[in-house]
């Protein structure tokens, strides 16, 4: 007798339904096989719990006929012959109902439906474990569909190996895949990762990983198992695409099996045998990049040297070796944090619960710091291609609303390490220093700005400049010593746009508005004598002091808190413009180490006096 007994064998044996020869054969097998004996015991236990026969019953001939006709319509896996006396039908009922219960029971316990052997996961002999290179996020395992159980009549044709892959006689692939339950105990092959590409976003904690692996497929149905324990991978982003023979390979479905976490199984229908390159893509979190800048002003503050850097940080818990690294400049719209998706117990959550809410989290509390390196390769030295004697270039190109920075060659970024790369450098950028005063925004401080444009005239303008921090220094003396001027954040600057860097309060410039006259006039009263309108007139003197050794340009914004105002101003050395409905703006140049002032008079109209201006 080959293999183990089926449950039907056992039931027939238990209720003496099999032929005498078969009864004997089964008995002999049971004597030698502890697994089958255990299974028989479980069946006996199940049957003993049934208390269904409560009274003797009789059956009409007509009903028997109808039952037979009706039952014949439904597909039944197997018919069982009764040879015993009529009274035995009661026992048979117990047996059949028991069979039904067993089906339910076995379904719950995942031991497969057909054979006792299904309690174990069998593997084809040719699948040998060779964990060549357990290096990248997630383990990928090829597991040929190896469970012949639950196959219909067509599945019984062909060799065991063909059945395993769902091949029927005549080299034809079965319409439906053979049953192959996921198991906690697996024996698998681990295909080697051929190369990896990281596309890192800075507007979100997100990296698109694209890796290539060569898989050996068998003609027929193939299961491909992907495991990502202890990583920060978003399982809903998993995607598998054949890079070759795409018309002969069909990735049918991705299954996240019950009870097994951090496992996904692709079902692949292949019309070919042999090695096929596949691309696997997914999102992960933990890698980040940012831009930052260093500016050095010339002594006359008319030009500046600007260096742009990108810094890539790896906090993912993984070492990335020889990865093509790309950075995305831009703000993508995302709905869920990748780290949150990675922590979900069930990839798509559960019904009735909102995604991302009320999810049970992994008891291991997967955090970046706690990730072990089980699936990741050896930590390589920092620096990537250190033997190269020239700086790596960053190739920049626009895509959609974003910019893609591709770092030349490949990079090795071990876990917890960061890497700084020069993005661009430009000398002698003409800059304009501007000092701004707006009491409503900054109080009494004068804010220093350095202004330039991201264009050719300013020796820039090749690509937009990503947002980041900037530190500005100035040359302090002829020897090239530096003085730190200030630091700020820089927003994204499109090509051709002007940028003003806010360097914080200026120490050597001062603006002081002095109210030198205040009058009210033109009061309007209602019939009860209450005030319903009036005018206010203020005369301001704005004193500007420049203690620097260079002349400065000062921009002064004044707000009136009403849209009903009129301004009188006659200083030709100062330019004036209406900024918006409630603000006026003045600009003037102040010579080195000097003080100057100008005056203006503003009348504001209140209450019903607003009508005066409206007219």
């Amino acid at each position: 007798m080959n293999g183990h007994l089926t449950e039907r064998d056992l039931i027939e044996y238990q209720f003496e339904l099999a032929s005498d020869a078969r009864q004997k054969e089964i008995a002999e097998h049971l004597q030698d096989c502890s697994i089958c004996r255990e299974h028989l015991e479980r069946l006996k236990k199940k049957f003993s719990s049934l208390e269904l026969l409560r009274q003797d019953v009789k059956v009409s001939e007509n009903l028997v006929r109808q039952v037979a006709e009706q039952a014949g319509k439904a597909a039944q896996p197997r018919f069982i012959t009764f040879r015993k006396a009529t009274w035995f039908s009661s026992v048979a009922a117990v047996f059949i109902i028991g069979l039904l219960l067993m089906t339910i029971y076995l379904g719950e316990t995942k031991q497969g439906g057909g054979e006792v052997i299904e309690t174990f996961t069998r593997q084809p002999a040719e699948e040998k474990l060779h964990a060549k290179h357990e290096d990248m996020a997630g383990r990928l395992a090829v597991k040929k569909a190896s469970e012949p159980a639950r196959m219909g009549a067509r599945g019984l044709l062909g060799t065991a190996g063909e059945r395993a892959a769902g091949i029927v006689a005549g080299d034809e692939i079965m319409e439906k895949p053979p049953f192959a339950p996921a198991s906690a105990i697996e024996l698998v092959t681990l295909p080697r990762r051929e190369n990896v590409q990281l596309t890192i976003y800075n507007s979100a904690d997100m990296t698109l990983v694209r890796e290539r692996r060569d898989l050996t497929l068998k003609k027929g149905w193939n299961w491909l198992q992907f495991m990502w324990a202890n990583t920060l991978i978003d399982p809903t982003s998993l995607n598998l695409t054949p890079l070759d023979q795409a018309d002969k390979i069909d990735v049918k479905q991705l299954v996240f099996p019950a009870r097994l976490q951090e496992v996904g199984r692709w079902l692949i229908r292949s019309e070919i045998n042999g090695r096929v390159p596949f691309e696997i893509t997914y999102f992960t979190s933990g890698l980040s990049w940012r831009a930052f800048y260093m500016g050095t002003l010339a002594r006359d503050e008319k030009t500046m040297r600007l260096e742009g850097y990108v810094r890539v940080d790896n906090g993912s818990g993984e070492d990335y070796e020889d990865a093509q690294t790309r950075l995305i400049v831009g703000k993508v719209h995302i709905l869920d944090e990748i780290a949150e998706l990675a922590r979900r117990r069930y990839p798509y959550g559960r019904p009735s619960l909102q995604l991302g809410i009320h999810e049970e989290f992994d008891s291991k509390g997967r955090r970046v710091e706690q990730i072990d390196r089980l699936f990741w390769g050896r930590a390589a030295g920092i620096g990537g291609r250190l033997n190269e004697l020239r700086r790596k270039e960053i190739i920049k190109e626009g895509l959609s609303e974003y910019f893609l920075y591709t770092i030349e060659g490949t990079e090795t970024i071990p876990d917890k390490w960061g890497k700084r790369l020069l993005s661009f450098e430009a000398d002698d950028i003409p800059v304009k220093s501007l000092y701004k005063y707006d009491q409503q925004r900054w109080g009494d401080d004068v804010i220093r700005y350095v202004a330039f444009a991201n264009d050719e005239e300013h020796k820039l303008g090749q690509t937009p400049i990503p947002n980041g921090t900037v530190k500005i220094y100035s040359r302090a003396d002829e020897q090239g010593y530096l003085s730190y001027v200030g630091g700020t954040s820089i927003k994204y600057i499109p090509v051709d746009e002007e940028i003003e860097l806010n360097l914080g309060p200026a120490r050597l410039a001062k603006v002081e508005p002095i109210l030198i006259d205040f009058t009210t006039d033109n009061y309007v009263f209602d019939k009860d004598g209450n005030i319903t309108g009036w005018d206010e007139t203020r005369t301001w003197r704005i004193e500007v002091t420049n203690t620097k050794t260079l002349p400065i340009e000062v921009e002064i914004t004044r707000g009136f808190e009403t849209a009903y105002w009129k301004l009188q101003f006659s200083d030709t050395n100062v330019s004036y413009e209406k900024h918006d409905a409630t603000h006026a703006r003045f600009k003037l140049i102040v010579s080195a180490r000097s003080k100057c002032s100008f005056e203006y008079t503003v009348t504001t109209y209140h209450g019903v006096r607003e009508e005066v201006l409206a007219k």
Binding site: K73, P351, E401, I490, A563
Partner: protein, 382 residues
Amino acid sequence: MRSKLIILNAILVLLAGAAVAHARIKLVALPERAATVIRLDNPTATLIEEERVLTLQKGLNKVDFSWKGVLIDVDSIRLRVLDHPGNVTLLSVSYPPNEAALVWQISSDSDYAETVRISYLLSNIDRLVTYKAIADKAESKVDLKSFLVLRNFSGEDFERARVLLDYGEAFEQGIDHEETKQLLFLKAGEVPITKVWTFDAAKLPWDPERLEDRNVGIPVSYRIVNDADSSLGRFALWGGKARIFQDDGHGSTIFLGEDVTALVPVGEKMELYIGDSRDIVVTQRKMKDARINIRKNDDGRIVLYDTDEEITAKIENFKDSAAVLTMIQHIPGQWDMAECNLEYTKKNADTLEFEITLPARTESGPAVKELKMHYNRRNVKP
């Protein structure tokens, strides 16, 4: 072989019949499921329909239906007689106390092996739909794929069931409890898309200068029409999460963004917000805001007035490609447009929509357009 089965089923009938006179029978007295249908056309509830053969005797029959470990909406359970609807009558349904069960009383004018269909709403089994779109480099079309995600946390394993959506062919699929399956069910290549930039003055900051080191991102969307011209239009597209990628021209892709789409009926548009453009800059300012035509009561108090308002918006395109910006402006209440230098469509009483075509930037700088809108709001009460 057949005769043996007859006996077995006959005995089942007898068991059912026996229960009439005695304690209620158990679920096991119902024969095995003959056919199960999981109907997922309603996103809020999943309907299970299963067929079973009941063995009925002439007279009154009681059939017990009970469940354990699953959540069934009791009021949703229906029993339909398929073979002899004129001869078999469902008389009543009883609910045993403290049990997840019900008992059908069925009268039959003869002995029948009756196929019945039991329908019920089962909780914690449902489907999601997700989309994956890969745009070409020129952003003129996408390859669209849609995946059906079956989630079964109902407590019941479905070894084989026919799964029905509200469109398309039914397919056979088994799904175990706690299992999630992702299946490709829609593939459409070269679906035309329109890229849309939208500035809504009610949602976005007006003056970038006031934001210091932050940019105002102009939301960018892809618009897909669910019609035959788009290789779609066969059925409504279900709502779900969509992830959009773009071919980078180097055999790889970049991720552009993701959004959730609502149900898109045939002929309607799906709009997917992918991210923000920082290469189109809008600087909007109110240059005038005054009360005019003031009317007062006898006490001299203002009771009604009009306004005189001016808005300017400078739109700069720093992109090296042209774009069409949809600008949405809002003027509340009753209003008249005194002067407007650009054409607009009145979308509703207080919403104006401008379609502003922006050329690509040139060597001399960004392409600039300016909107000037001079309007009066009428009969405003203080």
